[in-house]
């Protein structure tokens, strides 16, 4: 699993690649929270384009960041969801809280 984090305006773009499971979750949580703080971002965009596997541990990282960011008045979005991730994302109920966009630029337009 690898994480690419990039700040654009007020938004932290988080590109997740590989297996987003328990092993990845701890590392991701810490890395994202730290970068939110040091880079002073308000919103988060999760680009899931490279995700090959996700389970409730991975989804938990997204939901946890959502709770944190919205508490501070920020917004969260998801983009580039691969077909194999779509169903579990919907089943989790996350798509009722967090909007899903086809690509990064559409998502960034809404977050701005």
């Amino acid at each position: 699993m690898s994480l690419e984090v990039q700040k654009q305006h007020d938004t932290l773009i988080v590109r997740v690649c590989g297996e987003f499971d328990l092993r990845a979750a701890d590392y991701c949580r810490r890395d994202i929270d730290q970068k939110l703080k040091t880079q002073g971002a308000k919103h988060i965009l999760f680009n899931l384009g490279g995700v090959t596997f996700i389970d409730s541990s991975g989804l938990g990282v997204i939901l946890g960041r959502y709770r944190k960011v919205t508490e501070n008045g920020g917004k969260v979005a998801i983009s580039n969801v691969p077909p194999r991730v779509t169903r579990i994302l919907e089943l989790s109920g996350i798509t009722r809280l967090i909007p899903v966009y086809a690509n990064e630029s559409l998502a960034l337009k809404e977050l701005a």
Partner: protein
């Protein structure tokens, strides 16, 4: 129910072994030509049960042992995941969707196991450990084929 194949996998309660468990079960299951989405569902269910054993059963301590048994019968794949950890005191409550003893988790593990498998059984006793049985029925065409062969 005739047994066709069986494997047992025992590993330490370390987060990196969740992926080992998934890969082993998926490889074991390829033998029966499950379709890709069935295989994905089996992997998620195994991932949830094994993650629970590590996170809840052994409370994150990496020295516990998790035992996974996969058995291929004529008509179904049965997977049993066991730990000798903390156990679940109130099982009825733990099985409710959205219930988690860990604020960083979603309480969706059992929900996913039930959505993705045809049968989920849980045995647990406080202080004794937990045993989760997951069953996936083979696709209809495969079942018929197996009957013809037997």
């Amino acid at each position: 129910m005739r047994l066709r194949n069986r494997m047992k996998l025992e590993f330490l309660s370390r987060p990196e072994n969740v992926s080992l468990a998934r890969v082993a079960v998926a490889t074991f299951a390829t033998e029966v030509d499950f379709n890709l989405s069935d295989l994905e569902e089996i992997k998620v269910a195994v991932s949830e049960a094994v993650s629970n054993a590590i996170v809840h059963g052994y409370e994150g301590k990496p020295t516990g042992t998790v035992l996974l048994t996969a058995t291929l019968y004529q008509n179904e794949l049965e997977i049993v995941i066991e730990d000798r950890g903390r156990g679940i005191a109130d099982l009825a409550r733990a099985l409710q969707p959205g219930t988690s003893s860990d604020p960083e988790r979603m309480g969706l593990g059992f929900v996913f196991m039930k959505s993705f498998m045809d049968e989920v059984d849980v045995w647990s006793e406080a202080g004794q450990g937990t045993r989760v049985k997951l069953v996936k029925t083979l696709p209809g065409e495969l079942r018929a084929q197996n009957l013809a062969e037997s």
